[in-house]
Subunit: 105 residues, 2 copies
């Protein structure tokens, strides 16, 4: 299991469009067999800062995600709306250790 | 629902003790009625960088968590092991919107 957080800073006038595009991307991504969770968060008190919290079954699944049509659509749409380059950080789960428990209830 | 991420940088020689203390704190925290999830992540490629991913039912629940004995035990133990001050950032869930879906499977 691999956890990826993408920290995103969006130009204020494109925030609503970013949310709509990212919700559509998240919904489609959750249908991928390699995706355990795909969540969208907004930083409290910062309307233009977001986190994509992506949990993949294996180390190969992020690359498969990037081959999908919905990812390409999302990337093309949102790239011009970034206030600064987005930052992606990978994590491993220490606790809970059981990958099954990372799924959505 | 309120999501809190605590970004932690630990002095290398205390990493194992930090993990043990944080796993114990996470296990006890999951028993709190106000805690939806309480997860421990380690940054890939950085053995000394961690994230506590804490999901609370209401805005009042983080304060209740800080009143527990297990939190006090954890804080007292780990505070001297920090390589730099830990950083806490609050988030709101945009997607999935249903709080029930943020629970562990």
């Amino acid at each position: 299991m691999l956890i990826v957080q993408v920290f995103v800073h969006v130009v204020p006038e494109h925030v609503d469009a970013f949310i709509a595009a990212s919700e559509a991307n998240a919904a489609a991504s959750r249908e991928e067999p390699g995706v355990v969770r795909f969540d969208l968060l907004r930083e409290e008190g910062a309307t233009d800062r977001f986190v994509l919290l992506e949990i993949y079954r294996t180390d190969e699944d992020p690359a498969r995600h990037k081959e999908t049509a919905h990812y390409a659509t999302w990337k093309t749409a949102v790239e011009p709306w970034m206030a600064s380059p987005r930052k992606s950080v990978k994590y491993r789960a220490l606790s809970p250790a059981d990958p099954a428990s990372w799924k959505s209830a």
